[in-house]
Symmetry: C2
Subunit: 491 residues, 2 copies
Amino acid sequence: MFESVEVGNRLSKAAFKRIEPHMRHDLLEVQKELAVSPLSVIVIVGGAEGAGKGELVNLLLSWMDARGIDVQAFWDETDEERERPFMWRFWRVLPPTGRLGIFFGSWYTAPIIDRVFNRSDDADLDRALDRIVEFERMLADENVLVLKFWLHLSQDSQIKRLKKLEKHPDESWRVSKSDWKFVKKYKKFHRISERAIRRTNTAFAPWHLVEAEDVQYRTIVVTRTIRNAMQSALEALKNRPAEERRPDMPKPKKFNVLENLDQTQTLTEEEYEAQLTKYRSRIGFLARKLREKGLSMALVFEGPDAAGKGGAIRRVLSALDARQYRVVSVAAPTDEEKAHPYLWRFWRHLPRRGKITIFDRSWYGRVLVERIEGFCSPEDWQRAYGEINAFEEQLAESGIIVLKFWLQTTPEEQIERFRDRQTTPYKQYKITEEDWRNRDKWNAYEAAACEMIEKTGSDALPWIPIPANDKNFARISVMKAVAKALEDRLK
Amino acid sequence: MFESVEVGNRLSKAAFKRIEPHMRHDLLEVQKELAVSPLSVIVIVGGAEGAGKGELVNLLLSWMDARGIDVQAFWDETDEERERPFMWRFWRVLPPTGRLGIFFGSWYTAPIIDRVFNRSDDADLDRALDRIVEFERMLADENVLVLKFWLHLSQDSQIKRLKKLEKHPDESWRVSKSDWKFVKKYKKFHRISERAIRRTNTAFAPWHLVEAEDVQYRTIVVTRTIRNAMQSALEALKNRPAEERRPDMPKPKKFNVLENLDQTQTLTEEEYEAQLTKYRSRIGFLARKLREKGLSMALVFEGPDAAGKGGAIRRVLSALDARQYRVVSVAAPTDEEKAHPYLWRFWRHLPRRGKITIFDRSWYGRVLVERIEGFCSPEDWQRAYGEINAFEEQLAESGIIVLKFWLQTTPEEQIERFRDRQTTPYKQYKITEEDWRNRDKWNAYEAAACEMIEKTGSDALPWIPIPANDKNFARISVMKAVAKALEDRLK
């Protein structure tokens, strides 16, 4: 593959000088359009050592308006990054709409380097690459234009270039030992990069192989590609028919896992108190062990209004040290959140090792309230199932215990609780007009929840439906499940 | 001081039960009001080990609406925190407007503990405390209500409590070796905490000493204090006369450092090229040394429109590895930024150790554009001088080299550049209607700049005024100053 670009492409200085002002003008124009568009752009600069990646990035910054560009260099992970799922460090710096992010190193670096140095095998590599494809598909769906450049240099040229740099008194410091280490691994690096590029060369995020030998040539090829791709993407956005955001009211299906919950189960006050004490101390002990082992936990609470999410959460919290957990209440997104792909607002709250995050409502909002109220397009919530599964798998693999609770009451029980809330002074804040409105859509919400449970529940990441008509029973069920999950994992 | 609260305050269970529902109701009510107000609240929970800080926080979370509360526990610093100024870890988690942050440990912890374990002396402690006072004054001015609680326990009670916990089979894990280490240091901890509390007990952020012996008593005292303080603060905001945000147009003073710059200095193209090459390689080399030494740098560029900030920045960048720097262009704040104290948006961009951040416009906007356009109240920009000085001192002390450039052209030169921008295709994006409007206020901006230079320039953190009528001269002057600052610091 690489050989196909080793053809000695060159561009004369004169031709370059002729093209440069036009290119700069075009780039600035298209960047101005970007700034007021719902698009964001990621330029990934990959390739061989010594191929001039740094120079290229400097040039882009000087030709374009540096104020609209964020350069992200992914050197060694910080401990905050290391203690979270691998992709966290990329999510945290995704450019918001209107901006361009230049990624120096990327999600490709670790999988390729790990394989080159035999820290992984081909199957690991392929799995990582397939994940990347899914990730980039999500970015494309979320209006993030991903431009991937691979600057290619033949082995001879690479050696020549490094030697030349080393000889230059002012430049020699640019050459490090690790550069030479890479040169030695050239063939292997070459083979593995090729595999990575082939497998991730998709229509929505294609690779651009650029012969890097001639600086004029590579500069114009890269900038032209950026210009054209940005122009097309902005054009496509303009011509796109207005996004359809109609509410989707799914009809209940025959088998309804939520309707079939046994709501007759109850606990007396005495049983409840005894069990609460028991599980509280058990969870307290296990949470401490969790911290010592460097694992973490994410608890997700979903369910209709007044199903007792808050109460159940408080009981779990009462077992924990306040320094170890964080409650994230999911409400309307901020404008920084709206300027990023949907899952960004949840990635930013992921627990570090040893910590516990409790989500009071969660990323499932997309396939529940957003679906039913028409806050997103049908395509958006439909692709969300797969995106959520991929997201949760990453959490689980990085050592986060993920538990997803669905608290379910009957509609009759809900109405009683609403009435109680309206008459109890310190509960009034919990009940709003919206709650009454949502009630009318009970069946649609239930059907959406059933579809969600079906599509996002798995053996490894199951939904835990909790019959919640009896608060005591529901709370203890949650505590029990938390204790069991911790025990299973820590034993 | 502490003795004054060791009086055996108690509250009966019956009285507690009577008060509880009212208190919960009130807290929820006031929290609801908070949610839609421009106020945010920080509750600092300090005090002796074993005084029940964890329980108290859990209780607050269960009585109030946990969804509007962020608990922040300041355990060991992460490397991202350690590599930035001390206060960074607190700034990054300041609660936005409408929310309440409970701080478990705070900016008081390190100064007190350092002193207890003799890692600092009394003078260090006092300096740290005085800084805290300034910081809390700023928070008060920015509508952040700071509530500081100190839960006090006599030494006897502390020992009794820890022993009781240790005996309890389910609770013994709560007692750690470091708890006992603190008990041994009780007297010293006591003395130093007292000093800290006295020195930081201000009208705008008073301490509340609470006898912690009796759980009912301490719970009601703390919650009552929180309720009352929040009610008063919200009331005060409501009754405050509408903030005056009138433009302030300062008159030029007699001595004008900017007018007196020698604008006749020029460099020929040849001189410029030679010097550029020289300083580029010098800065490139020094920046690498900077990284190796674990220092960092913040470059601030201010000056009238078209003074050549962008061009000067680009020349500096051309000497640097794109992976080492970040350009932060200061434009309108996002809503997350607006929901925090003014300097928050700059704290979030501070460079880690080894990195360089270039600010294209900066925190000085408050005393320049915001002052002159009336975007903030006169009180706001007047207190900004002191806040900025305190901010920059913290940067400098943490190993960040801070350089502040003021690029100055004459008004005649500016108008020529505006015309050039309008006729050169790839420069057109740089000129807007606003630039022409700002021009009319040339004198006011210049006077504001002179006042700023006077009030925020110091020997340690001087302003560097650059005569910028000749672009070549200006760019080389900047490069020279950067190189010199690096050399001075790294030699």
